[in-house]
C-alpha cells in the first residue's frame, strides 16, 4: 500500500482529504502530551489561563518517551493508549487541534468533536517504540518539565509512520476492520 506523505501543521482541507485506512508518513512538528499534561492543559483552559503553546493546526502525540541515551535524540517513543485522554480531548479540539496520534479506540463524544472540528485520529504502532524513535530528529520540552516523561514536548519528525484510524467524517477502522476477519 502506498503511503501518503503529510506535513504539519494540518488544516481543514488536508484533514478532509485523509480517510480511515490511509497509511501516512508524517513530517514536521508534533507535540507529546499524555495523562498528566492533558490534565494541566485542560485546567488552564477551564480557568481561562494562557496555554503554553498555540494548538491551532497541530498534532498531539499521546506518548511518554523513555530517557535518551547520551548522544541520542530520544529513547523509545511509541504511543500510549488513547482512551485515558477521552475526557480531556474536546477542549483541545476547540482550541484548533487538528490531529491526535495514539493507539486504541475513542469514545463517541471524541469522535463527535472530531467531526465538528474536522480533526483526524491516527494510530501509531503500540510497542514499536524503538522504530518510531528513529523517525524523531529533535526533542524539546515546551512545558511541564516537572512531569518528566509526561512533559509537553515538541518533536521534529521525518516520515513518522501512522495510520488514519478515525477520519473527520467519523469512519472508524476499529469498528469496520475486525468484522472482516471474524469467524
Amino acid at each position: 500500500m502506498d503511503k501518503i506523505l503529510i506535513n504539519t501543521p494540518l488544516n481543514d482541507e488536508k484533514c478532509k482529504s485523509l480517510k480511515a485506512g490511509d497509511q501516512v508518513l508524517i513530517s514536521g512538528e508534533i507535540y507529546t502530551a499524555r495523562d498528566a499534561a492533558h490534565l494541566k492543559l485542560v485546567n488552564l483552559i477551564r480557568n481561562n489561563e494562557a496555554l503554553p503553546m498555540d494548538f491551532n493546526g497541530q498534532i498531539i502525540y499521546y506518548a511518554g518517551p523513555s530517557p535518551a541515551r547520551p548522544g541520542a535524540v530520544i529513547g523509545a517513543c511509541g504511543p500510549t493508549t488513547s482512551y485515558r485522554m477521552d475526557d480531556l480531548t474536546d477542549p483541545l479540539l476547540e482550541k484548533g487541534l487538528k490531529g491526535m496520534i495514539g493507539k486504541g479506540d475513542r469514545e463517541e463524544k471524541v469522535i463527535d468533536s472530531m467531526k465538528k472540528h474536522t480533526a483526524i485520529y491516527f494510530a501509531a504502532i503500540g510497542g514499536a517504540g524503538a522504530l518510531i524513535a528513529s523517525t524523531i530528529k529533535s526533542n524539546t520540552v515546551v512545558a511541564f518539565e516537572e512531569l518528566g516523561p509526561e512533559a509537553l514536548r515538541r518533536l521534529e519528525v521525518v516520515d513518522f509512520p501512522a495510520i488514519v484510524v478515525i477520519d473527520s467524517e467519523g469512519n472508524n477502522l476499529y469498528e469496520t476492520e475486525p468484522d472482516k476477519y471474524k469467524k
Binding site: 524503538a130 476492520e177 475486525p178 476477519y181 471474524k182
Partner: protein
C-alpha cells in the same frame, strides 16, 4: 547451606531489567515470523513486519523495545537452605531495579502513591512475591509489566456451576473488551481458583512461562488451546486493526479453591512480553 550475597542479587536483577527491555524473547520473534506467514490482513502483516524491525533496532541498544518499560514484578523462589547475606532480599531487588532503570535509560513509570501520583523517580518499588521451598534453590522470575495491557485485566468471582464454559466466556469477553488497547498480538494469562488474590497472582505468573508452554493438566491445556483458537477468530488482529493474529499464546494456571467459589482472573501481556529468569 548455600550463601548468596545481596550484591549478586542486585547485579543479576539490574542486568535482567536492562536486557529484557532491549532484547526481545526469541520465542516472541519466532511467533512474529509465524504470524507474518499466516496473517490475512495486509495492515496486520505490515504491523508485524514493523514489530520485527522494531525488535532489531532495540537489539542494538539504541532504544528499548517499548517506552513503557513497565513496573517490575518479581517472583522469588527461595530454598530454605539458602542464607542471603549482607542485607534484605527485597531491598536488593529494589536496588537492582533502581540501578537497571538508571543505567539502562529505561523509563521510570512508578508513582509512590496511587492517589497522590508523584513519580518515585527510580521505578521502585517492585511488586515482590516469595515462595519458600526445600533445598538450596534461589531463583527470581522477573517481569517488566507494561500498563497498556495491565489495565485491560479483569477478575470475576464465578459460580461453581459456571464451570469451564463460564471461565472461557469470561476470558473471551475480557479479550473482546480489551480490543486494540493492550497492543495485540497479546499473551493471555489466566488464574483459576484459590482466592481472588491467589487467582491474580497465578494469572500473572502464567505470563512468565515460556511462550506457548502448555499447562500440565490435560483439561487445562485443552482449554488453553481452544481459547487461543477462539480468540484468534475474534477478528481483532494486530493493534486491533483487524486480522487473525490477536493472541500469540494463552497460559492458564490453577489452584485449589473453596466449595462455594470459582475465582478467575485474566491478566494480559502485550506482544513485547518481557520476562526473564535469574538463577543464583
Amino acid at each position: 547451606m548455600k550463601r548468596i550475597s545481596v550484591n549478586a542479587i542486585i547485579q543479576a536483577v539490574k542486568e535482567a531489567c536492562i536486557t529484557m527491555n532491549y532484547e526481545i524473547d526469541p520465542l516472541i520473534s519466532e511467533a512474529f515470523e509465524n504470524a507474518k506467514k499466516v496473517e490475512k490482513s495486509p495492515v496486520g502483516i505490515s504491523i508485524i513486519e514493523d514489530l520485527i524491525k522494531n525488535a532489531e533496532i532495540a537489539q542494538k541498544y539504541t532504544a528499548p523495545i517499548c517506552q513503557d518499560t513497565g513496573m517490575i514484578v518479581a517472583f522469588v523462589t527461595l530454598g530454605q537452605n539458602v542464607l542471603v547475606e549482607d542485607g534484605a532480599i527485597s531491598d536488593a531487588i529494589n536496588e537492582g531495579v533502581r540501578q537497571g532503570y538508571a543505567e539502562g535509560y529505561l523509563r521510570k513509570s512508578v508513582v509512590s502513591d496511587p492517589v497522590l501520583r508523584k513519580n518515585s523517580g527510580d521505578n521502585t518499588p517492585a511488586v515482590i512475591y516469595f515462595d519458600v521451598v526445600e533445598g538450596d534453590v534461589f531463583e527470581i522470575e522477573l517481569a517488566s509489566k507494561g500498563f497498556g495491557s495491565e489495565n485491560m485485566s479483569k477478575s470475576k468471582m464465578l459460580k461453581p456451576s459456571d464451570g469451564m464454559s463460564g471461565i472461557m466466556n469470561f476470558v473471551i469477553e475480557t479479550v473482546k473488551m480489551a480490543g486494540p488497547n493492550p497492543c495485540p498480538p497479546i499473551v493471555v494469562g489466566i488464574g483459576i481458583g484459590g482466592t481472588i488474590d491467589k487467582a491474580a497472582q497465578i494469572a500473572k505468573k502464567s505470563l512468565l512461562r515460556p511462550l506457548g508452554q502448555k499447562n500440565e493438566l490435560p483439561h487445562i491445556a485443552q482449554m488453553e488451546e481452544e481459547l487461543l483458537e477462539e480468540i484468534n477468530h475474534l477478528g481483532i488482529g494486530p493493534q486491533g486493526l483487524g486480522g487473525i493474529t490477536t493472541a500469540l499464546a494463552v497460559h492458564a494456571e490453577t489452584y485449589p479453591t473453596h466449595i462455594a467459589g470459582l475465582p478467575v482472573v485474566v491478566n494480559i501481556n502485550c506482544h513485547a512480553s518481557r520476562h526473564k529468569k535469574v538463577v543464583l
